[in-house]
Amino acid sequence: MSLGLQARQLACERDGRWLFEGLDLDVRCGEIVRIEGPNGSGKTTLLKLLAGQLGDYHGELYWNGERFHKVREHFLANLLYLGHSPGVKAGLTPLENLAWYQALNGDKGDEEQCLNALFHVGLGGFEDVLAGQLSAGQQRRVALARLTLTRRALWVLDEPFTAIDRQGVVALEKQLAAHVQAGGSVLVTTHHALAVSPAVRCVQLG
């Protein structure tokens, strides 16, 4: 089954200024789309908008050819969004954080799977340390563990490489490549030069 996220004539205004206007965007399966632009050009806003978080936009959004608001549940069941803030609770351990995210999907959760996902992002042995005591990069990795843990077709990642060390960057690039090869798609903003084997399509903002 194919997936597709389309935006037609998308426009968004903030404080009397158009961040973008008349934007057409297609995200198809097996594709990485990278949103580029200087700071303040509306990358995060665009990602939030495409993840269905914001309602104050002009234009139309389609998911698999259907209007967004009609298929919202189906869209959300296939979306994994990692925002600017990692969404990791400082007062919980990485394991508890992941268990909550699993439960939010209505999944009973499996500790083995969570441990595997944490091991995969290089946090083996840190599963019972409070996330607040981990470094910024390690907290980001807890969020990134959700990419392994939760099977979703569309990944929307806002600056996923922030605070990640060099080995982590290489591992994440590999994971992105593997995801699109398996038929998924990725929508990403980053200032980092992406070295991913399949073609990365760039969309310029600002």
């Binding site: 089954m1 997936l3 399966c29 993840a51 269905g52 978080q53 914001l54 309602g55 104050d56 549940e73 189906h74 959300l76 069941a77 296939n78 979306l79 969004y81 925002g83 600017h84 803030s85 990692p86 969404g87 990791v88 609770k89 400082a90 007062g91 919980l92 508890e96 268990a99 909550w100 995210y101 439960a103 939010l104 999907n105 209505g106 999944d107 009973k108 959760g109 409070l130 099977r151 979703r152 077709a153 398996a182 038929g183 998924g184």
Partner: protein, 232 residues
């Protein structure tokens, strides 16, 4: 590769959110004690400030205990969604395939368990300090337990609306306080009735009705308010 929306699982998500918030609150025990300490301090100061005469105190005790408990509950509300907003988990909460109203309710239940319920349990002890007449202690606890559940539910709407504002505390109080007045009236009314030996059933029934109405309506208002806050 595509998933279809999972059926069910709401109960799992509800329980997990409740457990998560309870764990977080339990780990911040210092903050948890804040409303209780506030409650105890204010109640301690009144006999000193007004008069230690038991006759005077017993006259004002029901209203004083209820008003103080109400303000203590109000103080704790600001942080209900604030930390989730700051660390990005609120965004994630909005993007789950589960209904946001139910997950918001789970957070409110956790809030009530750790603020409203302790206030209701401690209130009789402080009632002794204010020479609250015998026979009204159970009613005080019961009316506070039911009433504070409504307070948490109604207050959460305001907390959700002001979560996007950096210093929303004052605005929250202004928004919520008028909605608290009916709960206060019937809560104090129940305790007064118990002291005077009148029937308390009518007051408790009204408190129950307020609770039922807020339980039914507040979750939807909380969900809508959270969406507005995130949009801003």
């Amino acid at each position: 590769m595509l998933n279809t929306p999972a059926q069910g699982g709401l109960w799992i998500a509800f329980k997990a959110t409740l457990k998560r918030d309870a764990t977080l609150m339990f780990r911040r025990r210092g903050e948890l004690l804040n409303p209780l300490v506030f409650f105890a301090l204010v109640v301690t100061l009144f006999p000193i400030g007004i008069s230690p005469d038991p006759v005077v105190l017993s006259l004002i005790a029901p209203g004083l205990l209820w008003v103080t408990a109400l303000l203590a509950a109000l103080l704790s509300l600001d942080s209900l969604f604030r930390t989730d907003y700051d660390d990005g988990s609120l965004e994630q909460l909005l993007l789950t395939p589960q209904p946001l109203a139910a997950l918001g309710l789970a957070k409110v239940v956790a809030h009530w368990l750790f603020t409203g319920l302790p206030l209701a349990i401690v209130a009789p002890l402080l009632g002794v300090m204010l020479a609250l007449p015998a026979g009204s202690y159970m009613v005080l606890s019961l009316s506070l337990a039911i009433g504070s559940a409504s307070l948490s539910l109604i207050g959460a709407i305001g907390a959700a609306l002001t979560v996007g504002i950096a210093r929303g505390g004052v605005l929250l109080s202004l928004l919520i306080l008028p909605l608290y007045i009916p709960v206060l009236i019937f809560g104090v009314g129940a305790v007064q009735a118990a002291i005077n030996g009148d029937g308390i059933a009518a007051h408790l029934a009204m408190l129950g009705a307020l609770f039922a109405a807020s339980l039914l309506l507040a979750p939807w208002a909380i969900a809508a308010s959270l969406r507005i806050s995130i949009n801003g």
